[in-house]
């Protein structure tokens, strides 16, 4: 079973066409192993992306180097998944 300890979901809002283009490049980069939850659409439209823990630092540095602001939407994905799993088990018991 695949787990997601330490994976974060980042929210990035491209502010201009240059940042939009940067996000599109990011979408095509396989090396970061990114999973786009909400894809790149347009300027001011949020992009949500799951970043594996081993690439978090690189991705954040990449964004910061390009002056692209981001926020952490989900701090540790596995925590939420564990909670969901526990709720399902509890409901099944009930």
């Amino acid at each position: 079973k695949k787990t997601f300890e330490g994976h974060q979901v980042l929210r990035i809002i491209p502010k201009d066409d240059a940042q939009l283009s940067l996000m599109k490049n990011l979408e095509d980069m396989n090396e970061f192993e990114l999973d786009f939850w909400r894809g790149v659409t347009g300027v001011s439209m949020p992009v949500d992306v799951r970043v594996p823990i081993h690439n978090l630092e690189s991705v954040k540095m990449y964004l910061e180097a390009q002056n692209t602001e981001y926020s952490v939407m989900i701090k540790d994905l596995q925590v939420l998944l564990d909670r969901e799993q526990e709720e399902m088990k509890s409901a099944a018991r009930a």
Partner: protein
């Protein structure tokens, strides 16, 4: 399977595929004069593609199609589908609007379009979106079923790369999960509304996605969308953005509603349920019923308009 009937079923929890299949059978058994189950095909891994038919009689009546779970990780959609099914049997005979619709039209509901992907989200990878069909020549698995329809197939907004989450597949309708719906809708020939339920983003979208050219019925689709999102917001204040797929979201080719619209099904909409970016695909279970309830108001607005405006 541990639930004895659909009254005691826990609608405020996420359920496995086998529990959903059991629910469907219970609902049919409890309401033999209203609900029947049609198996329209099989998924790649051999799971049945079940559609519930809600009908009060007649032959080949005009009908409404609703589907959930084309992207398997969007769990709120399959959970809402269960709630919709129960809502239909509960409200028929008590809610005058739904009763009038069902006295004249049929409703077809496919709760889990992508059962292989859904099963995989429960067993192996909670965040899986596509099917589970291997792609020859690639180590990457699966096709994005909402890029596999014959509507500018393979155009901008879809990927020809099997590892992409928007991989279109090798050809239009190559996936049995899509082909089964296409064959069913075509052979029925009297579907008047085609409603696809997704999450997350809180959007109500109508054709087109593959082109910025407005649909012929854009004005009507747009005003109906406004009515639907207004009704939806009346319950909890949840705000939806609405517009054409192209304008309100992004360019996407090979999508289900564009195909449906080009088949002559005028009322073709995609809904994107809660939220806008707190939980994403991990919407807490305590939001299932509120989300389904508000979504139902939008669906009812579209279904009632479809009934009131025959074409």
């Amino acid at each position: 399977s541990q639930h004895r009937n659909t009254d005691s079923f826990d609608y405020s929890s996420y359920h496995t595929l086998s529990e959903i299949y059991s629910f469907q059978d219970m609902l049919v058994a409890e309401n033999p004069n209203l609900v029947s189950k049609i198996v329209i095909g099989q998924s790649y891994e051999g799971r049945p593609l079940n559609v519930l038919k809600f009908s009060t009689g007649g032959t080949n009546r005009p009908a409404i199609w609703i589907d959930n779970g084309i992207h398997s990780r969007e769990w709120i959609t399959q959970a809402s589908g269960i709630w919709f099914a129960k809502k239909i049997v509960t409200d028929y005979g008590t809610d005058p609007t739904l009763t009038a619709i069902l006295d004249n039209m049929d409703i077809f509901l496919e709760m889990v379009i992508n059962p292989d992907g859904f099963y995989y989200t429960h067993t192996t990878n909670r965040l899986w979106r596509k099917t589970r069909k291997p792609n020859p020549g690639s180590s990457c698995i699966g096709v994005d079923l909402n890029r596999n329809w014959d509507a500018d197939f393979g155009g901008p907004g879809a990927s020809s790369y099997p590892c992409s989450i928007t991989y279109s597949g090798p050809s239009a309708h190559s996936e049995s999960e899509v082909k089964s719906i296409v064959d069913f809708v075509k052979s029925h020939g009297n579907i008047k509304a085609f409603l696809s339920v997704h999450s997350y983003s809180q959007l109500l979208l109508y054709p087109y996605g593959y082109t910025m050219t407005p649909a012929e019925d854009q004005a009507e689709l747009d005003s109906l969308a406004l009515k639907a999102v207004t009704d939806l917001a009346s319950l909890y204040g949840t705000t939806y953005t609405y517009g054409s797929f192209f304008d309100a979201l992004y360019q996407g080719s090979g999508t289900s509603i564009d195909w449906a619209y080009n088949q002559g099904i005028k009322y073709a909409y995609t809904l994107e349920q809660r939220d806008t970016g707190t939980y994403g695909f991990l919407l807490p279970a305590n939001q299932i019923i509120p989300t389904a309830t508000e979504t139902w108001l939008a669906l009812m607005a579209i279904m009632d308009h479809t009934y009131q405006n025959p074409y």
